[in-house]
Amino acid sequence: MRRYRYSLILLRELVRTDFKIRYQNSFLGYVWSLLRPLLLFVILYLVFTKFLKVGDNVPHYPVYLLLGLLFWNFFVEVTSGSVTAIVGKGDLIRKINFPKYIIILSSLCSGLINLSLTSVVIVIFMIVGHVPVSWQALLLIPLVLELIVIALTMAFFLSTAFVRFRDVSYIWEVTIQAAFYATPILYPLSRIPHSFAKFLILNPFAQVIQDSRYVLITHSTETISTIYGGDRWIWAIPIGLTCVLAVITSTYFRRRSKSFAEEV
């Protein structure tokens, strides 16, 4: 119990410090972390509805796009923030003993705070756009949990690998660019060849985004179950993949964390 008390105290203080450091000396301060994804949204919205007309046949496309972008933004924030997190806290690791997962959790917390604040904007958009809300929206809770697990899984892996291989940060930078387009964030899955869509949707992150859109915004969203013709068992693949990877990467993290103090 005492161990967790210490972890909690330290976690709170790390998140707080992170916040203060990140936004000091900037005029708008914290507003930027909300403004950044929203400005990106405005740009993408203009490009994809006014010029490319990608979202024309999707009802409530602005909200649909915004939800995808904010989830993506959360994922990028947590994973990219974690890559250098362990090495960045080397000073602390070398001088006191504390559960190292706290460092990753503090990245997660920063991401979650931003996600919850930006989701206020989604609610506003939904009210303005008259999006009907049903009880199904509650399914968002397990979906966000899955999203958190996916982000943590990557964060554990990346931060640990970075301790030994500094190339990881560059590789991840490129990977995340590619992943942005490989995930149906901007485009509806109906716009790409069916066989290709079948493959893309197996990505747990794609599954989470599509399912979230389905339960919250519009039932015309292509989810994993509609693409595979109503086969409910197909969910086992992305969810199973998430679980297996989560176990593997967290074990990897835990094993290696014992020697972080010597290596960072």
Binding site: E13, R94, I96, I171, A261
Partner: protein
């Protein structure tokens, strides 16, 4: 196991793998896979087979030379490093002070840093808030708390860190010698804190080079040399043994490069030095040989203890004694006599022959001879003038 053992270390080994060419990138891994030269790793045995127990309320010293493995051991006790082999058990809340002000961030204000360091020490925001005023006034920094830490002087930073550290509420404290840095005023505060710890029956593991501090505070000590625990026992014995390590070294060093310990133009030179010790008198006999005509030479001496600390000394000018001018080939003998108020141990005697300006050196000889005092009573201090105790 008895209840009162709070730290138990059993056959602990620690190896560090030091890659000669660290493969810090993926390319590095590939290239080193194919070239044998860069794949060699060197194993550093930082600790070998260390075992000891510390009881509740004990003040335990760890002494040893640089690189002997003291700090590694402390980090293993703190749980920062994992032992390669062996077992460590600690009972009770443990707070390590490898460094003061762990977690301090120069970009944050003093106030924020108090909360941050407080969290590192295990205090919640509420708990830090409750003692915030005390911390600030103890550090004497009330006016500066809203400034960024990077604008603090290093003395101010240490003061703030220290006033946090003394709040640490732990059963076991691991203190590295870094705690004893700073000016005299700060050191006094530190030692006062140590006394408080002792009074409150805290268990303390103290790593230090400062034998007088170890003697004064530690109940027991351990000497680490060449990464092994050479001896564990009463502080006095360990401290003596530690100092002797340096003596052995100094002897061999003297043989190697005497030139380093002796310099000057040799216009006059020390021919021979003898130190005679009687029960209440020390006589240092300096034979000076004149190689060139020399006017009004100054002959001085200095006594240093085993740790290199200067105990006392003087020269003929100080004593208002003008020595006669010397002609080439002449030899004079100067006897320095002083009451034997030194405590037991070995001392170095340095001799200096100087020109009348007291700056230009004719012959300076560090460690010209040794002085061995044996009164068969131990004091943890250099001076033992003999005491009379009167009870009214």
């Amino acid at each position: 196991m008895e209840d009162d053992v709070v730290i138990k270390v059993e056959n602990v080994y620690k190896d560090f793998i030091l890659p000669h060419q660290r493969a810090g990138t993926v390319k590095g891994v590939f290239t080193s896979m194919f070239s044998k030269a860069t794949r060699k790793n060197e194993t550093l045995h930082a600790l070998k087979d260390i075992s000891f127990e510390i009881k509740k309320g004990e003040f335990f010293g760890i002494v040893g030379r640089n690189g002997s493995g003291k700090s590694t051991l402390l980090k293993i006790l703190a749980g920062i490093y994992q032992p390669t082999k062996g077992k460590i058990s600690t009972y009770g809340k443990l707070v390590p002070f490898i460094e003061l002000g762990v977690g301090f961030n120069p970009e944050l204000s003093g106030r924020d840093n108090v909360y941050l360091n407080g969290a590192v020490l295990g205090f919640s925001k509420k708990e830090v808030g409750a003692m915030y005023e005390d911390i600030v006034s103890f550090a004497e920094l009330s006016r500066f708390m809203d400034q960024k830490l990077k604008n603090y002087s290093s003395g101010m930073q240490v003061r703030l860190a220290f006033s946090m550290a003394v709040r640490a509420n732990a059963d076991i404290l691991l203190i590295d010698e870094v705690l004893a840095v700073g000016d005299a005023n700060f050191q006094r505060k530190c030692f006062k804190y140590f006394k408080t710890l002792k009074r409150n029956k805290k268990t303390v593991v103290f790593v230090s080079h400062d034998m007088s501090a170890v003697r004064e505070y530690c109940d027991r000590a351990m000497l680490i040399e060449d990464n092994m625990a050479i001896e564990i026992g009463p502080t006095d014995k360990i401290a003596q043994k530690y100092l002797r390590l340096f003596m052995e070294d100094n002897v061999s060093e003297n043989d190697k490069d005497q030139a380093k310990d002796r310099w000057g133009d040799q216009a006059i030179s020390v021919d021979n030095v003898e130190a005679q010790v009687a029960d209440n008198l020390i006589n240092i006999k300096v034979k000076v040989k004149c190689n060139k005509d020399f006017q009004r030479p100054i002959v001085g001496f200095r006594i240093r203890d085993a740790a290199g600390l200067e105990v006392t000394g003087s020269n003929t000018k100080q004593e208002k004694l003008v020595l006669p001018d010397l002609t080439k080939g002449k030899i004079i003998t100067v006897n320095w006599q002083l009451p034997n108020i030194l405590s037991d141990g070995e001392y170095d005697v340095d001799i200096a022959l100087q020109y009348p300006d007291e700056v230009t050196v004719a012959d300076w000889w560090d460690g010209a001879t040794k002085l061995v005092i044996k009164k068969n009573r131990r004091l943890p201090y250099s001076i033992d003038p003999g005491f009379k105790v009167v009870v009214d």
